[in-house]
């Protein structure tokens, strides 16, 4: 027990005071201005539905998989969307393996609320046979590196993975039309998911002296700040979710300021995600074209002769 406590990272009092004093002159320790977001880079893996997002030093990997299951009793015509968050011990020395802690659960719930309750992903199109077979989409978020502001990065990773995921096409068959035949990707091209809008999570940190506000806190700033708020907005200006759990109280005008800032940032982040997905889709189409000419049918025949 003592061994584990000795390993937890703590900021020194000098570091904390330095961060707070610098913020009084609107300077942040990584050189950004208070309302500046860190650089976002979105990369995709070879498979459909795997994304890796880097937000400054924070790194999150998102993976989307789908399975045919029975729907919930009270929603027989809707598919199922579930999010699993893994705070890998890789990301931070204080993350323990095993059951998700409170931070992991909170992060999962914020991303979940943004996607499911704002109806960003169309779950009705996931229904194959009402009451019997629907697609259950599972999003796994692996936090690889904790550089602060995990919620935003995880949200972008989830969105990027959902936009590039393709589910297999399936049709009804069998004698009474009650059997579901899933077509493998080589025979029928898999289908993308229907995503109506992109809810982007933007996090803010509040500091006690003179209610200073910063956007996208790093993990040093997270250790110093007095309160945090995450707003999930989309590019149309709709508010999908706001999460402010405890921490110090802030006046109403600060909340309005946050919402306005979030809406402007959401537009640029949405564009960035869509551009990255465009590039991936073009590459994917090119890869499909290259696959067919590799059949070396002539060579094989010659060898057999």
């Amino acid at each position: 027990m003592e061994g584990r406590l000795a390993n937890s990272w703590r900021l020194t009092v000098n570091d904390k005071n330095f961060i707070k004093t610098a913020l009084l002159s609107e300077i942040r320790i990584d050189g950004r201005k208070p309302f500046e977001y860190r650089k976002i880079s979105i990369k995709f893996g070879r498979e459909d539905g795997s994304s890796e997002v880097q937000l400054g030093q924070t790194r999150v990997m998102g993976m989307v998989t789908a399975q045919l299951v029975q729907p919930y009793r009270d929603r027989p015509k809707e598919g199922i969307l579930s999010i699993f968050t893994e705070f890998s011990p890789m990301a931070d020395p204080s993350f323990e393996p095993g059951r998700p802690g409170e931070l992991a659960v909170e992060l999962g719930r914020i991303v979940d609320r943004g996607l499911r309750e704002s109806r960003a992903v169309d779950t009705e199109s996931l229904c194959i046979l009402a009451g019997k077979f629907v697609w259950a989409i599972r999003i796994d978020l692996h936090i690889l590196d904790n550089g602060g502001n995990l919620v935003d990065a995880a949200n972008i990773a989830a969105l990027a993975a959902l936009l590039t995921f393709r589910r297999p096409e399936c049709s009804l068959g069998g004698e009474d039309g009650q059997e579901v035949i899933v077509h493998p990707p080589e025979i029928r091209e898999p289908l993308p998911l229907t995503v109506h809008h992109l809810p982007i999570a933007i996090s803010f940190g509040f500091f006690s002296n003179e209610s200073i506000l910063v956007i996208d806190p790093t993990h040093n700033e997270e250790a110093v700040m007095g309160g945090r708020m995450t707003t999930t907005v989309n590019a149309n200006g709709d508010i999908c979710a706001i999460q402010k759990s405890g921490g110090e109280g802030v006046p109403r005008r600060v909340i309005m300021q946050c919402l306005q800032l979030a809406t402007s940032k959401a537009a640029s982040i949405t564009k960035q995600i869509k551009d990255a997905v465009e590039v991936f889709n073009t590459e994917r189409a090119l890869r499909k074209i290259k696959r067919h000419p590799t059949s070396t049918g002539d060579d094989v025949r010659e060898k057999q002769n």
Binding site: E2, M61, D145, G147
Partner: protein, 242 residues
Amino acid sequence: MEVDREDGRSQNQLRPLACSRNILHRAHGSASWSQGDTKVLAAVYGPKAGTKKNENPEKACIEVIWKPKTGQIGKPEKEYEMILKRTLESVCILTVNPNTTTSIIVQVVNDDGALLPSAINAACMALVDAGIPMKHLAVAVCCCVAKSGYVILDPTKLEEQKMKAFAYLVFPNSVHSVLPEGSLRVEGEPIENGIITSVTHGIMSVDDYFYCLERGRAASVKLSDFLRRNLQQQSTDSSKAG
């Protein structure tokens, strides 16, 4: 025997290797290793104070956490953790930092065959990046035996499933030493002829197994060269980055 592999490789050809060190900021050491489409990320934290309950406090302890791409952690993951732990314990010098724990976290990014060897290679690179003292590196390859009897190296996932048997083999890397020739030999044979770990799946004859060992050893020499080049190059780069 000419063998047609799907991606056009020859029997003893490995897939293109790529690795990079120091990619994560919070971890003490990190590395990413990819063989073809199989990609594994490893991170090292350590040495941390204290050992676990059943471990010997007079030596350093190694803890391995294996994170699959998706899904729950089950028995196969526990088995991989145990194999990695035992392999790395024999590679690290455990007497330098007694009563400490070094944690190695392996994250599977993509699995296209030869997953455990890639993980072992990535874990070694991450340990080097963290500066954990080691006797030598562990170099892992995968060899498969087909039903018709031929042996191929470094299979993809489809090839692994079609094979009669496959073996994951871990060898020590080849040594460039300043000491005189004979001093590093164990019972008359050079160190790199030894074998650290061997995990087999499926049934194969004794001759096939020895043939796999030979092929694996030859491939491990090539892998050691690749590792050496990569580590030397990056150590000069990091001094510039400061």
